[in-house]
């Protein structure tokens, strides 16, 4: 059984509604290598910069560098619709991640979940995707700052990746062997 580390970045203002969830999944046995390569890849990236804030040449350079980060997949789930009754947008996104993303094929594998930031999980804490994890940590940036930053950057890159505004060589998702981008 393979063990995976899943870095989750929530899209939306810290105290506002959740509008999306991005997952960067890394084989746990390559976590240290992935962090080191992500750190090298993102060196010099301005604090808090989103994908759309970067110059085209910088985006191309990052796409080439991020290709070297060991990974299983990158997945982004947007959530523009009202949450299902009795649920929350974050819980919906987590359900979508488990059932309708590249993570679907990892069902039954061990996983440790790292959330970026310290947003309260609320009722999503009981979501099966989290309940079935070996451990769930918040504040991923304190343990794996570069992978947490890359997950957050993927969150900001999802819109430009699908709205046709960027050429392929500036699409961050192009750096990944597997991806899905869309709804829950």
């Amino acid at each position: 059984m393979t063990h995976y580390a899943v870095f989750l970045a929530v899209t939306g203002l810290p105290t506002g509604p959740v509008s999306g969830l991005t997952a960067l999944t890394v084989p746990a046995h390559r976590l240290a290598e992935a962090e080191a390569r992500a750190s090298a890849a993102l060196a010099g990236l301005p604090e808090g910069a989103g994908w759309a804030d970067l110059e085209p040449d910088r985006r191309r350079e990052l796409v080439a560098r991020v290709r070297t980060v060991p990974h299983h997949a990158a997945d982004h789930i947007e959530h523009n619709d009202p949450a299902a009754p009795g649920s929350s947008a974050l819980a919906d996104c987590l359900a979508g991640l488990a059932a309708n993303s590249s993570l679907k094929e990892l069902a039954g594998q061990r996983r440790t979940v790292y959330f970026t930031g310290d947003r309260p999980l609320g009722d999503a804490a009981g979501a099966p995707f989290l309940a079935g994890a070996s451990a769930v940590h918040r504040g991923a940036e304190n343990r794996y700052p570069a992978l947490a930053r890359l997950a957050a950057l993927l969150g900001t890159a999802a819109g430009p990746s699908t709205d046709g505004s960027l050429p392929e060589d500036q699409d961050l998702y192009e750096a990944f062997d597997r991806y899905t981008v869309g709804g829950p």
Partner: protein
């Protein structure tokens, strides 16, 4: 200067040479592509040495370019070494703008081979299944060094 500092940082991290080679590599592929549904395209790049995992041959099968979400999709990709199947993978889902699946194979080191790949894509929308199959080939032999 920045390049030299970057290289030094890599050495300090104990990372291997393939990183630097891959970091400057351009997207590999002449991809075969075909319109499938609405603005969505199916694409299959040419089998190549992985930029992420040294000594692995892989090929990517994509559905992309969609302005509307695919109600349901499936992708199945197979990698061949000189007509012998060596890797297969598939993926499916719903309500996505884009998706990619990869077939990976770590060949024995010290061998050179030509590779090919086929991928079958289906988007199901409004009760109709839109399907296509693409084929692509490596650009000559790919050698994995000892």
């Amino acid at each position: 200067m920045r390049k030299r500092m970057f290289g030094a940082a890599i050495l300090a991290l104990g990372l291997s040479a393939p990183f630097q080679a891959a970091a400057v590599a351009q997207p590999h592929t002449p991809a075969n592509a075909q319109a499938l549904w609405d603005t969505c395209q199916a694409a299959l790049d040419s089998p190549h040495e992985s930029h992420t995992n040294p000594d692995v041959i892989n090929v990517h099968a994509d559905l992309k370019g969609c302005k509307k979400k695919m109600p349901h999709y499936s992708i199945s990709v197979t990698l061949y070494k000189e007509n012998q199947q060596v890797a297969h993978n598939s993926g499916s889902g719903a309500n996505k703008f884009k998706a990619r699946v990869v077939a990976n194979w770590p060949p024995p080191k010290g061998q050179c081979h030509k590779y090919s790949a086929t991928a079958t894509y289906t988007i199901t929308a409004d009760g109709h299944a839109h399907t296509t199959t693409l084929t692509n080939h490596s650009q000559g032999e790919i050698c994995i060094h000892k």
